[in-house]
Every structure is written in structure tokens, then in C-alpha cells.
Amino acid sequence: MTERDSPRLGPDTSAPRPSLAEIAAQLDRQTVAGPSATAPVEAPKQLRATRVASGAWLGGVCTGLAAHLGWPVLLIRAIVVALAGVLLVGAVVYAVLWLAMPIDRSPAAPGIDAATRTGMRTQTSVRSSDIGERLALLLLGVGVALLVQFLVPSWQVVPFWPMVVFAVGVALVWTQADSLMPRIGRRRRMRAVMQALLGIALIAGGIVLTISRGFGIRALTTPQWTGVILFVVLLAVAAPWAFRTRTALTVAREQELLANARADVASHLHDSVLQTLALIQRQADDPRAVAALARKQERELRQWLYGESHEADTIKTALEAAAAEVEDDGGVTVDLVVVGDHELDVRMDALVRASREAMLNAAKHSGADRVDVYAEILDDVAEVYVRDRGQGFEVGSVSDDRMGVRGSIVDRMARHDGTARIRSVPGEGTEVWLRMELE
């Protein structure tokens, strides 16, 4: 009963496996081995700066720049605001960058991505664009313009209100160009068209007002000025269109690259699932084997579809790996919930190993078909609870006939200044509580 609890040296955990070993080995050869290898395809790392939606005040330009340059956001915001005071240079720079920098769209896990694309999830918009926010922006702009006029009287030359009308028009036209609009509904398209038309009207109106105030109504009828009006309006309309086309082209190119990579992964995935299904059919008379196969495949798929990518070795990844092993070896379901995370050091490794031993004990001896594992890693302490609703045992008898529990759980924890407590009620189940302070 304690053959699995023999002391383990080194990270090698591939002790002799039960009958499922061949199947598992066969599967491993077929599928990508382990969760780490099933990481989703990553888009080529971009060197250009992107606008960041989270933490954005306006368009996310400052946040994006800060992330790109590695400077504090506050500094960049201060620079932009300071520059904005100097003949509105900052505002112009901001506007140009807003248009030039694409929105950061790091791909979500494939399952979520696919569900989003097929409309199975409510799209959480990158930036909410409610009217209140736009109104606030508009008022802010008008306020700044008024302030500048007040502080710099020489600017009175530029007629104020026509400029505002012009600016609002430009803003209306350009906000349409900002959204990528992969597939939009008819109602939204109508709205977009109306908005663009309104914008163009305002632009034209602004120019007409400016010219008529500067040079009199008569000037409007001269061919030069008519030409100027037409030119500016055309520019205002064509520029967003050109911008959008450019963006669409870039997106198309990226997607082609991704599509190829995805196709490879998809075929790999299909192989693994089909393989498992074939195995399940062959073992149809052995419910335990079927359940184990299904569970293993589910775990792999789940990790691939919804798994968060883990870069380094952490307690969470180690526990996930341990739970997976126990599921395969013990033929039980291990429900693992982890709150918080921490780097894996020698002591935390001991904690994970003790947890694994506790899970394995529950799987082998409790008779329960499910083991609940809850790990909580706070700032100063890590705790793991391993619980089963199996047959339980008399805790007093542990020291004698359960060398595994003493050696690999209690003593291991004690060696690393941790605590292990076992609570068990015959007939109701067992809970192992492991606790280790973080350094």
C-alpha cells in the first residue's frame, strides 16, 4: 500500500505505472506532451508601439507609449500635456499617434477567441464610447481652446467658433475611422454613415464660416476658395478611408500568418482527440479506463483552449502538473482551485510534493472518485487543502501503518519549517492541511 510513497529523489516522477501506462504513453507520443507544449500560437512579437485599451484615459496613446518605452505613464502624460500648452503641439502629436498606433489586440486563448468570433460571447468592447464621455471630451476641448484664446490674445486672428465647428466635424469623421469594424450590423453602419455625413457637413460649414468671416461672403463665390473648400472636404473624407484600408491590409496580412499556424495546431488537436476516441472505443468495456482517457483528453483540451499561459515555474503550474499526474495514475478526478501564485523555490517545491502525496493518498486509499484541492497563496503564507469524501481512517493509527503519510507529507513539511495537519473521520473522509510561510 505504500509502494508509491517510497522516497522520491529528484524530479523524476515516472514510477512504474498501472495498466493505463501503455495507453498514456501511446497518447503522449501522439499528442503534444503536457500543457506547456500546447501553448497557443503566438503572433510574432511586434516592435511597434500599440495603443493599450486598459488604463486608457483617452485613446490609450500614453499608456501604449509608456509600455513601449518602459517609461512611467505619468511622465509621458505630463510631457504631452506640457507640449499641448505650447501652441497645441502636444494635442497634435497625440492625435497623430492616436491614428498611427494600432490598438493592442493580443489574442485571447483560442477557445475564447473562437467563441468571440462566432458571436457566442458578448463582445466586451475595447473602449466604451458612451455619449457622456464624448461630450466631456468635447467640452474639455472647447474649454482649452477658449483658455488659449484668452491667454494668447494674438490668436484672435483665427476665428474661434468656425474652428470649433470644423474640429467637431473632423472628430466625427475620424472616430469612424478609429473603429476597425470587422463586421458591423446594418444599423451601426447606417449610424456610421450618418455620422460621417454630419462630420463632412460640419467641416464644410466651418471652412465656409472661416472664409466668409475673413474675406467676406463674396469670397466664397470665387473659384479659388471653392477649390479650397472642395479640397479640404475631400481630404477629410479620403484620409479616414485610406487609413482604414491600410489598417485592413495589415490585419489581413497578420491573419494569414496566424491562419497557417492555427491550421497546424488544429490538425494536431484533431489527431489527439481522434486518437483518444479510438482508444475509448477499444476499451469500451472498462469504464475506469474510459473515464480516465476522457478526463485526460478533457484536461489537455481545456488547458489548450482556456488555459492561461504560464511563463515561469510557479506553485500553480506545479500543482496543476501534480494534479494531472494523480488523475492519470489514480483514476480519480482532481478538482484544483488556486488563488494567488508565487515562484517555485525549494521550500515551495516541498509543499507541492507534499500536496501531490496527499492527493495520491486520497486517490489510492480513500475510495472516493473525486479529490478537491484548494491552494491559497497570500503575501506571506501558502496553504493547500486536499480533501476527499472517502472512507477516512483513524488518525491515531497513521504513524504505524502509513509510512507514506509520515515520511512524505508530515516530515517533509516539518523539514522545511512547514506544518501538516490531517483530519480524518472514518466514513466521512479526510482532509490534509499544509501550510508554509513564504520567505
Partner: protein, 221 residues
């Protein structure tokens, strides 16, 4: 449970919303003898129509659904009838899906691997106005509210979990059933239910900075 038969027939009226007909059939087969399935929906549109027409006690709602997802169903139904109760059932473990659907107004979340009896139990709980948290959901909530037991913080009530609520959530995450939690903490099952409902309310209404940041990190807002 049998005492409540006086008020309404003990068989809860349930609508199953899922785009996989196989899954609907499976669930219906499993829970059919214990509850009465009064309708089915396969996408947002049919789901909203069916739910509004039948006004069931509980709607079993898939998170991923053609036409905008489960969240959209909750939004549209609650616009017309805010009393309809939803239990989210999904294969997705992604935090954004789980928390997203709860924030939208679902009163519970369970995974599709749940067995029939547990599901019926969850349906009854929801019909009685309680909340149903799976261990995973409890873990997400603890994660989202982590560090919030700072006693010095003068946060609003909504923005933190009480010590007791944390304890209850941790026990749920550890795999305890409500009955076992009640015994462990020397409180009544009703009190456990009250705590869980209160956590649900906080999760839905809270604006707390950390929850927002946690959600932003996961692109929920």
C-alpha cells in the same frame, strides 16, 4: 426541501438554453424526472422568447451561445422581467466568462461535468433565491477580492468581503457542501446561504478598484 411543497409544486419549472441539442437532451434526460423542463432555447433569440413566454423558475444558461452569448440573454430578459433567475452552465473555465456572466446577473455558475443530482440541487437553491457557487467560482471571487481584508481600509461595505464571507468562500473552494460548511462554522445552512448571496450581490454591484483592475487585466471591461 419537502416542506416547501405547500407553496409551489416541488418540481421547479426549468428552461434549458444551450446550442448543442445533444447536451440539452442529456440534461433533460437526467433532470427530467425531478424537475419539469418547460422549454428549450438554442440561441439568444429563441432563448429570450422562450424564457419570456414560459417564465420558468430557473433558466439553465450556456455561457457561449450564438447571437451574443449568455450575457446577452440575461440582459434582454432582465430588461423585460428582472425576476427571472439564471444558472450558468458551461464548459469554459475562463475567468472572464465565469465572472462576466455572474456580473451580468446570473445567480450561480456550475460546470457541465456536474452530475444530475447536484444540478437539481443547484436548481432548487436558485429557485429558492439562493446563490450557487462552484469551488472554481469561489476561487475566482477570492482572487478578485484578495487583499481586501485590510482592516485599516475605509472601503465601502460593498467593496470588501467580510471575514465570515471569506471563510465561507474558502470552504466552498475546498469542496465543502453548504451542510458541511454550516457544521464547520457552527452556523445554520440558512446563514451560509445568506453569506453566499451577499457575496454574489457584492460581486455584481461592487465597483471596487481591485475588482476593476482584476477585471481589466482579464479584459472584462
Amino acid at each position: 426541501m419537502t416542506d416547501s411543497t405547500a407553496q409551489h409544486p416541488s418540481r421547479q419549472r426549468v428552461v434549458i438554453v444551450d446550442d448543442h441539442a445533444m447536451f440539452r437532451a442529456g440534461v433533460k434526460h437526467e433532470i427530467g424526472p425531478l424537475v419539469s423542463v418547460v422549454g428549450e432555447g438554442s440561441d439568444v433569440e429563441t432563448a429570450v422568447t422562450t424564457v419570456l413566454a414560459t417564465t420558468p423558475d430557473v433558466v439553465l444558461l450556456d455561457v457561449h451561445l450564438p447571437g451574443g452569448g449568455g450575457i446577452e440573454v440575461i440582459k434582454q430578459v432582465h430588461e423585460k422581467d428582472p425576476d427571472i433567475k439564471f444558472l450558468a452552465v458551461s464548459v469554459s473555465d475562463a475567468a472572464e466568462d465565469v465572472i462576466g456572466v455572474i456580473r451580468a446577473g446570473a445567480r450561480g455558475y456550475v460546470t457541465k461535468s456536474i452530475n444530475g443530482l447536484e444540478l437539481v440541487d443547484a436548481i432548487r437553491r436558485i429557485a429558492d433565491g439562493d446563490a450557487v457557487f462552484s469551488p472554481r467560482l469561489a476561487g475566482f471571487v477570492l482572487d478578485a477580492f484578495s487583499g481586501s481584508i485590510d482592516i485599516a481600509a475605509v472601503d465601502e461595505d460593498l467593496d470588501r468581503l467580510s471575514q465570515r464571507e471569506r471563510e465561507v468562500l474558502r470552504l466552498i473552494a475546498r469542496g465543502y457542501a453548504y451542510k458541511e460548511i454550516a457544521r464547520e462554522l457552527f452556523i445554520s445552512i440558512k446563514t451560509v446561504e445568506t453569506h453566499v448571496s451577499s457575496v454574489l450581490r457584492k460581486l455584481q454591484l461592487s465597483n471596487r478598484h481591485q475588482l476593476t483592475r482584476w477585471a481589466t487585466d482579464r479584459r472584462l471591461v
